[in-house]
Symmetry: C2
Subunit: 402 residues, 2 copies
C-alpha cells in the first residue's frame, strides 16, 4: 500500500497544474518537507529580487520623493489588490498596515464603540489566543462582557453556536474563518446573516484562510475582517496585516494618527478622519515590509485562488489518506474535518507524545508545527508544496510514530 | 566670500573623522544633495546585503525554526542595542515594534490609565501632528482635557512652558525632544524633574533626536519614550518604531496581544502580561523590517553617537553660515536656534514662497523637505552627508531664491 501511495503522490504531482510555481520559491536548504506554510510562508525569488530593487531604486535613489511617487498610496493599493485577488472585496475597503493584533484592536474597538448600548461580545473560547486577549483587554477597558462560545477542539465555532450565543445585548461577534487548530471552515455568509438578525456586527479573522480559500466578503455581508500577511500570503516574518471594513459601515477606530487624517501634510490642528478605510492607517505605512507581500500577491493574481483551493483540497485529502493508512493504526487521531468543504489548508493530527515527535521531525528536516496540547499541524501551502514532499514528510512522521 | 565658503566646506570634509562612513551608503543616482535624512535616512549597503542574506537564510532555509533560533527575542535584542547605542538606557527597557503612532497610543494610554485621578494631559499645540491627534483621540475616549501649550514656532516647548502648565490635575506631559519644525532641543532632564514634582509622568517623542543626539533617558529620569526607525536610524520607509519604559514604572498598555503575553506558546486562557517591556509587543514582531535597522545600529555602534552629534553641530553651523551669507539678504528667515546646544540635526529656513522653491529644488536634484506654511527643512544626517554636498545644495537654493 505504501508503494501505491508513493505512486499516487507522483501522479498527483504530474497532474498538478501549479507544479511549476514551486520554482518561484527560493530553495530551502536541508529541509526535506516544509509542512508549515500556514504559519510562515516561504519566500519567493521575486520577493528577494524586488527587495533589492526597492532598496536601490525607490529608497536609495528617489528617497523622500517616493512618498509622492506612490508610497503614500501603498496601504490602499496593496489593500485593493488583496481585496481583488483574495477577499472578494471591491476597491476602497481594505488597507494593509500594522499587525493583525493591532488591527483587531482597532476594528473591535470601532465596532463596540459603534454599538454603545450593547454590552456583550461573542468569541470562541478556543479561538486564536491574540483574538481572545485583545477582546479581554477591550472588555475590561469598556466594561463589556465576553460571552465565550465553548466548542469541540476538533471542530470550531459553528453557525448553531453563534445563533445560540447572539441576542439583543450582542455588540460584536468575532470569529475565525478557519480554525487555527482544527482547520474547520465557518460559513461566514450564514453567520453574518444570524449576527445581523440580532443587530450585531461580525468581525472575521481570516489569518488561516486568506490566500488559500476563495473569499467573498462583500457578497457574504461580513462587516469587518482582519488577516495576516505572513502565512499563505508569503509576506515574510512579521509582515504587515490587513483590515477590511465593508462599504457603508461608518465606524471610527481609536488610534488617531497623522497618516489616517484627511490631508495629512496640512499638519493642521484637530484630527479629522480620512474618508473610508484610510482612517485605519495610523502611523507611517510599513512600505519596505510590503514588498514581499506585493510579490506574493502578483503570483496569486496570476494563478487565482480557486486553483490554490483546488490543490489545497487534494493536498489535505492526501494527507488524510496517508494518516489513515499509516498513523491511525498507531493511535493517531485526525482532529480536522473529513468533509472537504469544511476543511481549510491544514490538517491536525494528535497524539499525546507529539510534542516530542515534533522535535524529532525537525531534526530530520521535516518541519510542521506543534500546538498544545498534542497536535501536529500539517500546513499545506499549495503554491510551494508538492505531493511528493508531503509524502516524504509524512513518511518520516510514520517512522517516528509507529 | 562664496569661494571662502567653498574652501571651508572642503576643509571641513577633509578633517571630518566620519567622512569614510559615507561610502557605507548606497549611491543616490542623480541627487546632488540629499538634505532630508531627518525624514527618511538613506540605505546602507549593509542593509541591502543583510536583507538578501536574511531572505535566503533565516527565512528561506531555517523557516519557522528561526522563531526559536532568535526571532522571538528581536524586539528586545534590537531594543537593548538601541538603548545602549542611542538612548542611554540599560537593558530591558526598550522594545522595537509597531509604528511610532501605535506605540505612542499604547504608552499614553498606559500612562493616563495609571493616573486615573488626574484628568489633564499637557502637549504642545505645535507638536508633531500624530502626537496631537493620538492624544485628542485618547482624551475623547477617556474623558480627559488636553492642556495645549502654545509656543513660538521658531522655538519649542521649553522648561518654563511646562512648569507653567503642570499641576495637581496633570496625568501626563508629552513632549518632543527635538521640535520637528524648529529643531529646538528640550532639556528633558529638567522637564522630567518639573513633571515629577507635579506628580505626573513624562512621555518623550524622540523621533527627531534618536541617532543624532546622545540621549541619557535613564539618567534624565524620563518615564516613557517613543521614537522612529526611519529617520536618523536609516531603517527604511515605515521601519518599526521603539518604545522605552523606565525600570520600575509599572504600567499596562491596552493592546493585549499574544506576543506580549507571558509564555505565549502556551496559548492558554486569560491574558497575563509578560514581564517588563515585553508586554508592549502585541502582534508578531516585524522581523524582516528590523533587518535594515539592525545594520544601521551596527554602524552607529561602531561610530558612537557622540561623534555623530559633533558632526551634526558642524553641519548645522555651516548651514547657518551659508544661510547668513547667501539667503538672509534675500529675506530668508532662520527659524532654528542659534545656540548650538539648543539645536538638533536640522535647520529650518522660511520664506513665503518656499513651497514653490522646494519643488524647484527637487527638480534640480536638491532634496530637502517642506513644512507648512513656509519652511524648508535642511536635514543633515551626519553619517551620510558631506559639507560639500550641503554647500552644493544650498548653492542651488541660493540661485533659486535670490
Amino acid at each position: 500500500m505504501t508503494d501505491d501511495l508513493r505512486a499516487r503522490a507522483e501522479e498527483l504531482d504530474a497532474r498538478d497544474p501549479l507544479r511549476a510555481r514551486r520554482d518561484d520559491f527560493l530553495p530551502m536548504g536541508d529541509v526535506v518537507a516544509y509542512l508549515d506554510g500556514n504559519s510562515l510562508g516561504r519566500p519567493l525569488r521575486a520577493a528577494q529580487e524586488q527587495l533589492a530593487a526597492f532598496v536601490e531604486g525607490p529608497w536609495a535613489d528617489r528617497l523622500i520623493r517616493s512618498w509622492d511617487e506612490g508610497w503614500m498610496d501603498w496601504p490602499s493599493l496593496v489593500g485593493d489588490q488583496l481585496g481583488r485577488v483574495c477577499l472578494g472585496a471591491a476597491p476602497g475597503q481594505v488597507v494593509v498596515a500594522d499587525s493583525t493584533t493591532v488591527l483587531l484592536y482597532k476594528l473591535a474597538r470601532a465596532a463596540v464603540d459603534a454599538r454603545p448600548d450593547r454590552r456583550e461580545v461573542v468569541v470562541g473560547s478556543d479561538d486564536f489566543p491574540t483574538d481572545r486577549y485583545v477582546l479581554e483587554g477591550i472588555a475590561r477597558e469598556r466594561g463589556l462582557t465576553l460571552r465565550w462560545v465553548d466548542t469541540d477542539a476538533d471542530l470550531g465555532v459553528t453557525l448553531e453556536h453563534v445563533a445560540a450565543a447572539v441576542g439583543p445585548a450582542t455588540a460584536l461577534v468575532v470569529l475565525s474563518h478557519v480554525s487555527y487548530r482544527s482547520s474547520y471552515v465557518a460559513d461566514l455568509a450564514a453567520v453574518a446573516a444570524v449576527v445581523h438578525e440580532a443587530g450585531a456586527l461580525l468581525l472575521a479573522d481570516l489569518c488561516h484562510s486568506v490566500g488559500v480559500l476563495p473569499l467573498s466578503l462583500d457578497a457574504w455581508g461580513v462587516d469587518l475582517a482582519v488577516g495576516c500577511g505572513y502565512k499563505y500570503l508569503n509576506g515574510g516574518p512579521g509582515a504587515p496585516a490587513f483590515a477590511y471594513v465593508r462599504a457603508g459601515l461608518d465606524v471610527q477606530q481609536p488610534v488617531w494618527g497623522w497618516m489616517g487624517r484627511a490631508d495629512p501634510f496640512a499638519m493642521a490642528p484637530g484630527y479629522q478622519p480620512a474618508p473610508g478605510t484610510r482612517q485605519l492607517v495610523s502611523g507611517t505605512p510599513p512600505v519596505l515590509a510590503m514588498v514581499p507581500l506585493r510579490a506574493a500577491l502578483d503570483q496569486l493574481e496570476q494563478v487565482g485562488v480557486a486553483a490554490v483551493r483546488e490543490k489545497a483540497l487534494q493536498l489535505t485529502g492526501f494527507a488524510l489518506a496517508l494518516a489513515d493508512a499509516w498513523l491511525e493504526p498507531a493511535g493517531v487521531r485526525v482532529a480536522s474535518p473529513r468533509d472537504p468543504a469544511l476543511r481549510g489548508g491544514h490538517v491536525t493530527l494528535c497524539r499525546e507524545d507529539f510534542r516530542a515527535v515534533t522535535a524529532a521531525l525537525w531534526e530530520r528536516g521535516v518541519v510542521p508545527d506543534f500546538r498544545n496540547p498534542d497536535g501536529i499541524r500539517i500546513g499545506l501551502a499549495p503554491l510551494s508544496t508538492s505531493f511528493a514532499e508531503l509524502y516524504d514528510g509524512m513518511a518520516v512522521l510514520r517512522d517516528l510514530a509507529t
